[in-house]
Symmetry: C2
Subunit: 344 residues, 2 copies
DNA sequence: CTGAAAGCGCTTACAG
DNA sequence: CTGAAAGCGCTTACAG
């Protein structure tokens, strides 16, 4: 085994003290330009890198962010929700852009996630991501807060909730989509997706949906709201249940694209044409949304922006700057699955 | 700011030495069962976690793996290749299963990736992932090897290559798929995807394709191999180029599903029916493959297994155990896009 | 601008 | 089974 170079080796070869090497490497203005250059050259030559554990231990911060991804326990073990996977990609980029490393961890198993990362000095702060049932997590979030652990979560904003939450404007998204469907002339509706406090983002989408319906004097049919989690299989089942109820509505708004994709298959298997016999809309604008046939009309979440806001807010929290919860607007993407004229 | 509990705090409260606390917390058999329990209880009460930086520094290993994801520089900035995103998910799981944390990093920018992680004691080893142009990287890999940095890469296996490589059996995959197409009665073929040393996995798929063709005495038409990288847009362009060449072949084998998805759109825009007028096959079996219409016949990569092998091999390397390069078989998934009878 | 010294919070020989 | 002590490789007051 080769032995790794340390700052002492460099100090020895440069004929300066170890402190000076440390300063030079961090480009402290306290160091003479020439010695600084000499030391940098030597470091490069010896393939020296500052030991992160040592510097973290000494300076008491890590320069890394931990992303904790909560998965729907019911979802297929091998598959991660594509929306979160894409968020993960954007967050990694955003973290790198801000000079932080990113530790990624799936959290369906560990019970101790609320403490494992920042408390163990693995990360300076946590990003919580997932269609998590924050009702269940609330206690742990409280505990995080008491321990002064820095965290931000991606999700809904609620009265009196613990910590900072960044999220998509689900209510307005549900509202906009429904208005669009109404403007297309549809009169009867269904909503596929859980709508209670255990799936708060879906609930907000549903509430926005209902608001648009009420404004247009369209009756809300309670049994046309059918629970589903964000998987194809769940969307498939929910759509089949809807079909069996008879009186198929003219338009079906799904709480997520994954649900919509499953519903699309269900309709097509029953010989029900989308959009001619039923209009179908999703939410998220994941990649598959424009690859189905018909292409899916949906509300686009701006994952890149969301990731940046998440990372930047967390960094602010780490530096004890004030951060507010905030909503990120969703954008209506009109394609083929609802009839009307596609705009993109 | 609250001050974090240290092992000394626990030692004080438990009335033992700090060494004993350290031992107890790592469940050393050297510690009396009762004191062990007392210390664990105290740790929980005080919300104590072992400081990773301190323990890593002292023990000289990190318990984390770094995943370096090389992206096709030409691909859309906001979008990560879905195949690698799914690998990422599986690798995170596999790392967790083996008790390691995972540091994730995209590497299109940094020049120093070959040293940044293990040398800085951020990780015990590196996983290299991406349709990377390993021709360009070879020098850096050599350097990694010289520094005795532990790494494994996901990719092709080549004569005299540096380090351990795990990958899909692309050659056999290309061969199998082509045999399947031939068995369906197709006589003329195109291959969409780069086939030179800069995209070694595509090249192997192409070589397997050619072997099957030769065995069936089917002429290989060089201008029917059209370069493409693994994006929809590139697949779209390649298919359009093929269409403009006239004499559309009966079957088009795409080097990846993303290419196939783009090609499908191109064919459909030109009113060319898939599979009636042209059969279309992909590779990877990414999620969208079964959502297109017609559903895509493809070669499935076993991402879960690949991730586990990758992680386990790297861990072996870290422990200086011998590791061999290995190929993971791909599986033919017959759906609709090539005609014939779907099997699943 | 530079150096000597302390100390971050652990793990691990060493001695008992 | 337990404790006292050294030391991992840095950063950072402190003194000059």
């Amino acid at each position: 085994m080769k032995t790794k170079a340390t700052s002492l080796d460099i100090a020895y070869q440069a004929g300066v003290s170890q402190s000076t090497v440390s300063r030079a490497l961090r480009n402290s203005p306290l160091v003479n330009e020439e010695t600084r250059k000499k030391i940098h050259a030597l470091a490069k030559e010896l393939n020296y890198k500052v030991d992160k554990n040592a510097s973290n231990l000494r300076s008491q911060h890590t320069g890394t962010l931990a992303l904790l991804l909560f998965e729907d326990p019911t979802s297929d073990d091998s598959m991660i929700n594509p929306f979160f996977l894409s968020m993960l990609g954007c967050i990694t980029r955003a973290a790198a852009k801000n000079g932080y490393d990113l530790l990624v961890s799936f959290q369906q198993l560990s019970e101790d996630w609320h403490a494992d990362y920042e408390d163990a000095s693995k990360a300076d702060g946590l990003i919580l991501l997932g269609y998590g049932d924050y009702v269940d997590y609330e206690d742990k979030l409280k505990q995080l807060n008491e321990q002064e652990t820095h965290f931000v979560r991606y999700g809904t904003i609620e009265e009196g909730q613990t910590g900072v939450s960044l999220g998509c404007d689900n209510f307005s998204g549900g509202y906009q989509m429904t208005q669009h469907l109404i403007s297309l002339g549809y009169q009867t509706f269904a909503f596929l997706g859980g709508a209670d406090e255990h799936c708060p983002e879906f609930k907000d989408r549903y509430l926005g949906h209902c608001k648009a319906l009420r404004e247009a004097n369209i009756k809300i049919v309670p049994h046309n709201q059918i629970d589903a989690i964000s998987t194809e299989g769940s969307g498939f089942s929910a759509a089949n249940q809807l079909i069996q109820q008879h009186n198929l509505p003219e338009a079906v708004f799904c709480a997520s694209d994954m649900i919509a994709v499953g519903a699309l298959t269900a309709f097509q298997k029953q010989g029900i044409n989308v959009p001619k016999q039923v209009a179908l809309a999703g939410f998220d604008d994941i990649q598959v949304a424009h690859l189905t046939s018909p292409e899916l009309t949906t509300m686009q979440q701006n994952t890149k922006l969301a990731a940046e806001v998440l990372v930047e807010s967390l960094i602010k929290k780490i530096h004890d700057l004030p951060v507010e919860s905030a909503l990120i607007p969703a954008k209506l993407i009109i394609r083929e699955s609802c009839g009307g004229k596609p705009n993109g």
